[in-house]
Symmetry: C2
Amino acid sequence: MTTQAQTKQNTPTSPLQELADLLSHDMGFVNTLIIDRMRSDVPLIPQLAGYLIAAGGKRIRPLMTIAATRLFDQKSYRPYRLAAAVEFIHTATLLHDDVVDESDQRRGQASANAVFGNQSSVLVGDFLFSKSFELMVEDGSLDALDILSKASAVIAEGEVLQLSIQTKLETTLDQYLQVIGAKTAALFAAACEIGPVLTNQSKEMRKALKDYGYNVGMAFQIADDILDYQSSTAELGKSVGDDFKEGKMTAPVIFAYQSGSQEEKQFWHRCFEAGEISDDDLAHAQSLIKTHQADRKTMDLAIGYVKAAQQSLNNVPDSRLKEILISLADYTLARKS
Amino acid sequence: MTTQAQTKQNTPTSPLQELADLLSHDMGFVNTLIIDRMRSDVPLIPQLAGYLIAAGGKRIRPLMTIAATRLFDQKSYRPYRLAAAVEFIHTATLLHDDVVDESDQRRGQASANAVFGNQSSVLVGDFLFSKSFELMVEDGSLDALDILSKASAVIAEGEVLQLSIQTKLETTLDQYLQVIGAKTAALFAAACEIGPVLTNQSKEMRKALKDYGYNVGMAFQIADDILDYQSSTAELGKSVGDDFKEGKMTAPVIFAYQSGSQEEKQFWHRCFEAGEISDDDLAHAQSLIKTHQADRKTMDLAIGYVKAAQQSLNNVPDSRLKEILISLADYTLARKS
């Protein structure tokens, strides 16, 4: 991924890589904790969890927890357990998502449910979710527990809402934003808010980092939803056109459908509601999205969130780390996977 | 269920009903909390969760949390949130279990996954699980959070272990006991341990109630596993022979297989490992279990746990409630569902 990003942007290092480099010492502790807490006497658990975690996610959420702490405190060990807890919540969500979506690819390889079965994915997801709470309890901050338990409930609610509006072409942009706010942005927001909480910052700083996380999460998800109609499978690291096949209502489709002719609307209805999809339909959907500039409109939406993320850091003390977080918001739109 | 138990035992009221009557005021608060925290702006969530909860589980786990508190304190409001949290963990587990087992019946009606689909069951389970942690965080006892987060991880581990040994006829009794200790007894133990924790009792009382819960849970599950080869579907309220069809390794099968002739072992291998099950096979399995007294051996095992449960209460101060808890341990073996 880094290589592709480098080629594309012609820059030596992506902000995500810069962040990972700057916080590599901290992330060493987090990764050790992650590996340690996947252990179990039941071999299938570390096998399955390790399969997904070794596939090398970007660890962007725990990175944000560390970064949001390091903005205010250079030394605290407090964020490690909570950063690992955040990654476990995310991993549990991925495992359950892939079961729900019947996905067969994730992070450029066969998804865990495709290899180990849906049953194991459901149960190991539950295990990781429980472990995330064990980690939080060990830390002992009731504020952090409050933030992350609420975020978890919101994520599940968002996933159910997404399922409820699936294939429903009358879905509004507001409903879409509600879904991604819950299923994606809520955990980014929580991951970032933990930083000022652990370091006893003002309510203003809590809000600043929470808003940063929320808006980056929104931009991140919207960019992902554009990619699903743009990249090839090799670039994206998961199956392209998955959203299309699953009838997932995302911004590009909402914009293209709203601007579509009667004939085009019939096409969308056939693919999304009747679920009759032939081989050329994804290409046709992609061309309709281009024709109606639905991809540009979606990108504009994402840019709005990037700007909001950057502005939310205005009153945070200046530092190299803050600069990277500002660049990282832009980078959510430039990344390929 | 009560009616059947009355007929069978020829007693006016079952200990479970006595417990529910004695604690009905408390359980009113718990039930209100349960209904309240299932609320969501996403209609499918209260629909699905309500479907299962309205089907009328016995609420035995939250009852135990209340009882274990009331042994030591007549007035505290503290157990309500935690009792509701315990029931939410249990309900989330049921939802995921039914997906994993592909069950079509639960509590005498179609299971939630059969009505609402596996996808919704997975996600609403996640929602309830998150809500259980929200409730614990509101209570604010880190000890209770520790107990319940550890129990949740153990439950998931037990479920994965159960899946790993499924259809494996060489499974030992110890492995079976490890599975049910994790998937069932751990939550009973946690539900009971919370009582002395909330009321600041001695370590001895914590251990007494934890042991009581653990042993009752073991007896409860073993009795359930006997019933799956004994009752008719109407009596059990879930499909009889489910364990057989799923190749679940339970004590009756382990005992019958261990005592079986070569020919009988081949029968078990065909049904469990090859998965070739014809219409008469359940009846044949039931007769083999009777022939080898595998049901009696299993019942003896359960009786051992009942006695251990009762003995664990020896040093708990005497009260009517304690007497009911002692009878309740016996009752786990008498119940029909």
